[in-house]
Symmetry: C2
Subunit: 476 residues, 2 copies
């Protein structure tokens, strides 16, 4: 729980205990700062959360007051419980989820839709105007021969900049080991092709990112979904048992802020995971595209930093944290680096040169850290407001994850509520959600949806969450 | 034979016949224009060719004179014969050429190499500075939501501009049927995946572009190389016989200026090819990345223009004609359009947005036609000079193609000359060539090399051709 949520919880307790009564003024932001030893931003976030939950009200030029209707609001707003560890079937299975995924993606492409089912952060969160300037100047400055010379592995300045960032995160990477790809998606697909053959079994999280399922399906492989904790990721004991029982060709996990659960595997578990797989020579593909979007004080140490044997294939990209649409990602493929590079040359040859040059310059002098700090804090605040809105509007018994980064909430609806039906009814009201079955090789999670909080929490978004809550209630 | 070559031939005959004697002045450019009814450019190209061949000499501020040593020069310069129709084995075969291709590509990446083995035109031939300006302005002008909205099929303005160009070439394409890809390579690979399965047989040209061989190898398919005419492309009679004898899952041909032969399939043959395959429901993948680089008066009519059944998958790109390094290509995949689009979304998701926007603007107002006219005429002149240099320096009995477009010559060395040995010795002298075996599933064409004339014909290039000729002689 973050500091502002703790503060909000404390004020809630005071209201419940009658220390603060309906209509009474609560401490001003300045008073609360002094009393609690926190920053004004934290107090403001806490008060915003309490207002969203209907416990307090703002009176312009006067202050914050306990709401007259706080009791009913508090009943609704008791923060929802988190989901439990997933319990997928223990057998590996072929995958046939692609058609459903496409159907759902195509149905929500319209601009007028409130994109709670989107996989992207709202573009307004990115320094696109600044990047466009870098795009112009970097492209003009490129020596013509670079248009041919920057074949795989890609722009050398960009690879050096990435290697420096990874070094700071505990990963010692030679720039020559970094292959620039068309986004994280290409990196992941190439890595999977490099380490496994058709018919092989790939261990994944449960629920898992649908693109992982699609890649496994496209390449004729099988998926083994493992029990996954909503906060801590894959259950390592279950993984160990599976490894002892059957041949697993590779694991494909998201150790930081997984899609859709948002789980963050603890550092000790990462170390254990890497060692366990290396001992068995099983490659670990890490989809780490959310690695920069942490809410904690420090960046989680990548699994790759524990990789002494070259068995970790680390994939990431700028699409989620800086430059959507630029399609610049990368792979550090360890032992399989040359093979992944050759697969790249055979399938798409090279990555577009100008966007690589622009990003290399931006990393050097664009203010990346400043941008990231702002983005993380916006995402964290938006998460709090969306959880509060879900608490206020969704049926009792709804469970919600509490990710420590990224921009997805995984919502378990109570009872037999059907997420595909919710998706269909919401689409009619121009709201998208990502229904649970697209995250499962067996189309499980029929009562779950993934919601995206990577957009400003406008009244329109709040109204959309309220509408979803009403629709969910009507499905019970 | 082009007009300027005819004129050069005529003057050669006059010198041989003694009409023009050593040391005598030949007609000035103006006189020749008037006498022959041709443009000054044609006369200049003819005189340049004669000079390259050592038959005439320029005296500054005086004119052109028959060379005193014209006899020995003429003996060397008799234009080499063309290669014969290829005769590959009649059985389909698995492919294992990738390692050799990579070895050769990696060995010649250095900047100091004279890149006669390159697959690219020299970057100086492209309007890169202008494109860079479009890149800056187009990226700045993009609405942020486009960074997410321009998912496959890609930038709508670019697809409309391409559809208009194809309409003018006789292909009626709906912009929604055009999928923007990461270069032609991705388009081709996606199309092949969409129409064929592992183990299937794919009919190809002989010799064939090595990337086609690599794609077939990577996907576990088999190749059937067909007899191919150096001017007219695949032998349709041989194709018909093969179709009657065995199941062919798809054809992958380059109908315009194939790589490496440079063949141009005549319009009537294209029509027949498309009809023959459509009647058997066999998909035709056309790699048409050289379609804009024709030397004739009009653009060859694409095979796609004869496609009434949707069985032609037309792939092309800007990498060869306008914007190398931008990695923007496309596919018009007919019946398989949706499937190709989905394969794209599953493997690389989307194509970088800013380069697409820049190219859309450039096509509208950048002067594309003007650029193309200049490029075509430069390539044609460079071809003439390289053929003359080969004639002057390579061993007697060497055969050379006479492509009507593109920028490759296919050179057959006489006797048992070993192209891989030539490649190795040339590399020591910082000259690259593309040896024949990388263009064959059976590593045939051991005595052939592909030479690239897509670069200004500088003294350095001429010296490199002379060195190659010497090395080739030493191998006999």
């Amino acid at each position: 729980m973050t500091r502002y949520e703790e503060l909000a919880g404390e004020i809630t307790r005071q209201i419940r205990a009658g220390v603060l009564r309906p209509g009474e003024r609560i401490p001003s932001v300045r008073q609360a700062c002094a009393a609690q030893g926190v920053s004004p931003g934290t107090v403001q976030q806490a008060y915003q959360l309490l207002e969203d939950r209907g416990l307090i009200q703002t009176r312009p030029r006067s202050g914050y007051y306990v709401s007259a209707t706080w009791k009913s609001a508090a009943a609704a707003a008791s923060t929802p419980a988190e989901p439990e560890v997933s319990r997928p079937p223990r057998a590996s299975t072929s995958v046939a989820v692609s058609d459903l995924v496409f159907e759902i993606l195509e149905s929500v492409k319209s601009e007028s839709v409130v994109p709670l089912g989107s996989a992207f952060i709202h573009p307004s969160a990115f320094p696109l105007a600044k990047l466009a300037r870098f795009m112009g100047t970097a492209t003009r400055a490129l020596a013509p021969r670079r248009m041919v010379a920057d074949l795989p592995p890609g722009n050398p300045e960009l690879r050096r900049a990435l290697a420096r960032r990874y070094l700071a995160a505990g990963v010692s990477a030679d720039p020559d080991d970094i292959l620039i790809t068309h986004g994280g998606m290409e990196a992941l697909n190439l890595c999977l092709q490099a380490v496994a053959r058709p018919g092989d079994t790939i261990a994944i999280e449960a629920p898992a990112f649908y693109a992982a399922l699609q890649a496994i399906e496209r390449l004729g492989m099988k998926a083994l979904a493992l029990p996954t904790h909503p906060r801590e990721g894959v259950d390592l004991q279950a993984l160990k048992e599976a490894l002892n029982k059957q041949r697993i060709a590779a694991c494909w996990f998201m150790t930081s802020f997984s899609n859709p659960l948002g789980s963050l595997m603890p550092e000790e578990s990462r170390r254990e995971l890497v060692a366990m797989l290396a001992a068995r020579e099983v490659p670990l593909i890490v989809d780490d595209v959310y690695e920069e979007l942490y809410f904690g004080k420090t960046r989680p140490r990548p699994a790759k930093s524990f990789d002494t044997e070259g068995t970790v294939l680390h994939c990431s990209s700028f699409s989620k944290c800086l430059a959507p649409g630029y399609r610049v990602g990368w792979a550090l493929a360890g032992r399989w680096a040359q093979q992944v590079r050759r697969l790249k040359m055979m399938s798409t040859l090279a990555t577009a040169i100008p966007p690589q040059a622009a990003l290399a310059d931006y990393l050097k002098q664009g203010g990346y850290e400043h941008h990231l700090r702002g983005l993380r804090s916006a995402l964290q605040a938006q998460q709090g407001r969306m959880i509060a809105a879900i608490a206020a509007h969704f049926p009792a018994g709804t469970r919600v994850t509490r990710p420590q980064g990224g921009y997805f909430l995984w919502v378990e609806l109570p009872g037999k509520a059907d997420a595909l039906a919710l998706h269909a009814r919401a689409a009619q009201k121009n709201i998208s959600v990502a229904p649970g079955p697209i995250f499962s090789p067996q189309r499980r999670y029929a009562h779950c949806v993934r919601l995206n909080y990577g957009q400003p929490f406008t009244p329109q978004v709040e109204a959309a969450v309220a509408t979803l809550g009403r629709l969910a209630k009507s499905l019970l």
